[in-house]
Each structure stands twice: as C-alpha cells, then as structure tokens.
Symmetry: C2
Subunit: 379 residues, 2 copies
DNA sequence: TTGTAAGCGTTATCAG
DNA sequence: CTGATAACGCTTACAA
C-alpha cells in the first residue's frame, strides 16, 4: 500500500472519513506507473502520484506546494486533498537539485563559550521555524593550519543556502571572502560592525563596557583594574576600548600595572586577578572582559581573603550562567545573543530581497547583581 | 572559464605546471555540451565534464569518486587528474536523490545543559570528520503539545540518513518508534540501557552515583541528604537508585526528610538545599543529582553561614564548568560525554554493517575537588 | 574493466 | 490558468 506509513504522518487526527480518493489513487498507481515509480515497494508518494490522483499535471502540484498565486481555488483544493490523502511530503533533495541550492543554513563557529553558541542556534531556529530550512553546525578549529581549507571543502561539498559566522571566526575577512567566492550567502555576527549591513549583525561592546565602567566610577572607584581579552579578538579590542574611553572621559588614570591580559578562560582570570590584586595599592574594582575571567578574579580574591564586594568590586561580561551562580552573583553585561542570531538568520533568508538591508546593531544591558559596592572613603 | 573559481579551491598549491589537460577540457566543453551543461555560465563542473576531459564515461568517474575497487590504476589516475584540474566537487544533492538518502545526520535534543549538547556535537563531528556527512541540529520543546508532530514533520521532510537522540528526549520510546516507522536510523544516548544495543549508547549513572555516595560514607558521613532530579527523567531515577543502593549496602538510613526534589536547575537546588539544611539535625553531606543543583546547595549553605566543606560536604554530577568555577570547587561525577557522542555517531554510520552492534556502556569517574571533608566526630 | 540507458523527484521553459 | 518536456547531477542495473 503505497505511502501508507506516511499517510498517517501528517494527519494523526485523520480517522476514516474520506478514503474514496485514496482508493482511486491506488487503482491509478497500480497500473501504468511509467514515470515515477514512487509508489512501488512501499516508498513514499511522489509528486507524480499526487498529480495522477488529483487528475492534474506534475507542474500544477508543484505550483500548489510552492504557493503559486496563479491557480484556480478549485484546482488547488483538489490537489491539496490528494496531498493529504497520500501523505505526500516533498523531497528536499530533489528540490535542491532542481533549484541549484538546498535548504540548509550553516553555523560556522570556533567558540569556546557553549552558552553563546547555543543561544545563537536557538535564535536561528526561531527564524527558520515553519520553513523547510534546517541548521547545520560546523565548529572549526581556529589555529589549526588546515582550518580554512577545511571550511572551503565543507562549503563546496554541502552547497548550503547560506552560512552564519560567529565570533571570533566571524572576524576573519578571508573566510567571508571565501564564502562570497563560493557563491554562499553569509552573515557575520560580531561585537562591532564587521561588514556591509547586508552581511552583518552586531552588538556594540565598546559602548556597553563604557557604561559598565561608568557604573564603577559613579560609585567612587578610581583604581579600576582591567582583565583584558586575548589579542586578535575583535571583542577584546572593543571592550578594552570602551573601558579606556569611560576612564578617559572621567579623567581617571589607567596605569599599565592595572591592566592584565587573559585569554577568556577561567584560569587566566585567576592569574590576571592575582597579578592585579598584588599591586600596592590594589585596585578597588576590576572589570573583566568576560564572565569566566571575572569568576577567576573572584577566586583570586577569595584566595587572598578579600571579601567581594566589600574589598573588591567586580564586573564581568556576557551574562553566562556562571555569573548568576557564583557567590556573590556577578554584575555583568548581557547582550541579546538569541535575538541577534534570529536577526542574522532572517537577514540571510531575506538576502535576495531587493530592499537594501538595514543596519543591525543590538543594544546590551548592564545586569546589576551583588558584586559591586560603593567605595568606602578611607579614614 | 568554466570552473576556474573552483579550480583553485581544492589545490591552492597548484601553480602553473600542467595546464595542458585543462585546455583540452575547455575545448571539449566549448563545443557540444549536450548533456550536462555544467560548464555553462560559470557554474561548477559536473561529473560529465570530468568524464569528457578524462576521456572516460560518466560511470567511470562515479566509480572513482566512490572508491570502487574494479578500476585500472591508469584509468583512475587519469580521472583523478581531471578532477583536480577541473576542481570538481560531487554534488551531494544529486547523489542523495539518486541514492535515496542524503548525508545528514540529525541531533535531536531538548536539553537545558548547553555543555552537554556541545560535548555531544563535538563527539559526533569527530566521528564524521573526513566523510561527507554533516550534522543537523534540532532542539525540541518537550512539554509543548505539538512536539512529537513537529519532530515527525522534521524527519519526513529532511529525510536524514539517521538521527541521534539526546537525553532526556531520548528516553521517549514513542519518538524512537516514529524514527523507525519513518525509516530513519537512530541511536539513543542515555543514562542507562534504553534500547537494543544497535540503538543505544549509555553511561551507567546508578553505578557512578553509588561510587560517589560511598566516597561520602567512607569519610564518616551518615546523615546524607539527596537533592533528587525531576520526575520523568530516567537519569534522575538512575541516580537516585544508585544513591539509595549505596546507603543500603552500608546500612545507612535514609529518612524521607533528607530527600528533596529539584528540577535540575540552580534555583531548585537553592530551595532543596535550604529545606535539607533546615532539618534538625542537618545533614553533614548532600549529594545533588547535577552540578547546577549542587551549586544551588552551595548557595543555600552560604546563606546560612555554613562553611563548605567544613560544615557540609557536597557532591554534584556532570562535571560542568560550574563545578570547577564555584568556591570551593565541587567534587562531582564526570561522564565521557564526547566519547559517547562519537561512539553513537559511529554506531549510526555502521548501522548497515552485518555484525551485530556491541553494547556501548561508558564508565563515569569521580572527580575529587574541594567540597568534601572527613566528618569530624563530635565531642 | 568499462560503457549505455534509465531512473531518482523536483522545478523551469514555453507553449497552449 | 495549465500542461508537456527538458533539465538538475548522480547512481544503479545491465550489457559489452
């Protein structure tokens, strides 16, 4: 019985009402199946089967499943009925072959922060919900010498509809160029405007960090340490720039001794925090360029029996779960990662629209928790 | 110049050496392109182009790219040369259409733990490295009424080679049945044996938790609290069973008052921990069924000015980053998530092999950090 | 060991 | 508005 398995698939609530058409279908299929053969051997029904059952041509069915406007309602209904009876599901492989591109969008990233990756995935999936698009993930290993070749091979073989590039790999201009060369649409996410509006969705980390830093300054802090992010990361650069700008505008000095470099990981935060806290006098507050490092600073403080926030105020960045779960919970900067993922995906899908893409810059927000205190003026 | 973009793609190191063949290629393509037309309009070269350039038939090229054993080395080389010259890349859509299935494997999950999801992804990607397979992710919303229909639609439309099911959704037998009905290979990951060996890769949470509990008992603890996981999660059931088994075998009593229920999230850990710690006398140790809840217990302890581990020992489960990052760092159970993902993917790919699948149960390991102390015997 | 012919299930073209 | 016919690029019989 052709497609009987599938028949149940789309319509679980379908009972035994209108099976007349289905019987016609069987009869029709039984005889001269010269073209598609889709009915043989229990495989699922094809567009040909639907056409035969509905008594129309292949192309008409195609028009129905592609929402073509030029169709008589009556015809459309007949076809839709046949589709329902047969439990027909269009074959994306075939469609992809015919149209020259598949319905997959790729997510390329080399991100150590799982929360972020998953947030973006979530956003993308929201954007492609109710479409036939699916999300293909491709983590890559920045630093590995063959990385770029790897990605190229991936793009060549999979022939995706388009890809989304996550930071920090999204900052790589060469990668973007490769995408373009391979005819693969792309959108880059970043902490600053990295590309033309059509290819870019970003936050404004510099501004967000400046606001966070002002939060410290307003509370009386003047010796403020920075745990910077790693070289080569645009986000690290942006965040540092925002930090310095805020200090500058308030005429607060930033001695080199109050800057320590980290690599965005917890351990580097412990080390950087230690170095900062061993200065004399130590800083009264520290901004760390991400939450993991901020948690590391917290560790370093605890190792020195410093109470946070009494003896030391700390602000992080990203608002990952760790920020809320350490003690005291960290004041930090939250950026709308999921919304950005969604916007980026939409931009990708709308790419062929005629209207020029609008710029997409998403605002971040300071989340105030318990790791910042007003500075007690000394005796 | 047909395929010139692509020509560079695979062979960046190719300089100007042997372009003779390529010229032949151009000539050949220029004239009677009656079949594929792959050379026209800058689109990428097809198997026909390769065949013409190499002076063999389509099928022979197909044999080469599919590693058929029956080919003269000479022929093979000629074809390979042509492939290189042209920068030919097989079209997966077309192949998928012809073979009846694509080269995508899906990851279906409804997991709140991002670390876990990403770990599995990593494992899968290792398993499919150097193949043409790609990974499609599909988070679903357990609890949403339309979830199962959703997944079915997804499977019907995408026609994946196979899917991997992550806990807790992997515990859903109905979902597995649907996969089978739709002709989609599947492998389930879980905290216990959920299915036939061919469809299952698991850890043994009960045993792991029993070991962790013994770790507490050996150190003198007798009043040990449990923060259980949510109903309906197999892992919660397994972990609790392991906990109770260890207490039993040591003849340690487990009053109901020392069991609190959580939902695997931080906040529930705080609440459950509070309830446990407010008992008189309070427990001297608590096992929480995952790290997030263990971190919550830590919060509850701190709110009561209890020192960990001096006044309270805590053990968690999963070894997520949070376990290492809170203070004190948590003793916890680590299970080989990435290795399991890899094994599961391999199982999926080997699915058609004749040999019966071996059982795959992966051992977990107690990670000892700073949250457990020997029990001081009271005065 | 290699080639020929016939699909795989869709969409595009261009006529009616 | 609808339909015949030809792509789309590859694989799998079945020959040679």
């Amino acid at each position: 019985m052709p497609g009987s398995d599938r028949g149940r698939a789309t319509s679980d609530r379908e009972t035994e009402g209108r099976c007349a058409l289905a019987d016609v279908a069987l009869a029709a299929l039984g005889s001269g199946s010269r073209e598609s053969g889709g009915s043989v051997r229990g495989s699922s029904p094809t567009i040909n089967d639907v056409a035969r059952v509905a008594g129309v041509s292949k192309k008409t069915v195609s028009r129905v499943i592609n929402d073509s406007p030029l169709l008589r309602v009556e015809t459309r209904q007949r076809v839709e009925l046949a589709i329902a009876e047969l439990g027909f599901v269009p074959n994306l492989q075939a469609r992809g072959l015919a149209m020259g591109h598949n319905s997959l969008i790729g997510l390329i990233h080399d991100n150590p922060n799982s929360q972020m990756v998953l947030g973006v995935q979530q956003g993308i999936l929201e954007a492609i919900r109710d479409t036939d698009f699916a999300l293909v993930v491709r983590p890559v290993d920045r630093g590995s010498p063959g990385m770029m070749d790897d990605v190229r091979r991936f793009l060549e073989r999979q022939r995706l509809f388009g890809v989304m590039l996550l930071p920090p790999i999204s900052e790589n201009d060469l990668l973007a160029r490769h995408c373009a060369e391979l005819g693969c649409r792309y959108v880059r996410m970043g902490s600053a405007r990295l590309d033309a509006d059509a290819h870019c969705v970003s936050s404004n980390d510099a501004e967000a960090v400046a606001a966070a830093t002002r939060h410290l300054i307003v509370r009386g802090h003047r010796r403020i340490g920075l745990v910077a992010g790693p070289h080569g990361f645009r986000s690290a650069k942006e965040r540092r720039a925002g930090f310095e700008a805020a200090l500058n505008e308030a005429n607060v000095a930033l001695p080199r001794s109050l800057i320590a470099q980290g690599d965005y990981r917890f351990d580097s935060g412990v080390i950087a925090g230690s170095r900062l806290l061993d200065q004399v006098p130590p800083p009264t507050a520290i901004f760390a360029c991400n939450d993991e490092m901020a948690a590391g600073v917290l560790h370093a403080a605890r190792q020195r029996d410093l109470a946070v926030p009494r003896d030391l105020s700390i602000i992080g960045f990203d608002d990952t779960p760790i920020a809320a779960h350490v003690w005291p919970p960290l004041t930090t900067v939250r950026w709308p990662i999921q919304a950005m993922g969604q916007a980026a995906a939409r931009k990708l899908l709308d790419g062929s629209s005629d209207a020029p893409a609008p710029p997409s810059v998403f605002p971040s927000k300071l989340i105030v928790r318990g790791s910042v205190a007003d500075l007690e003026v000394g005796p």
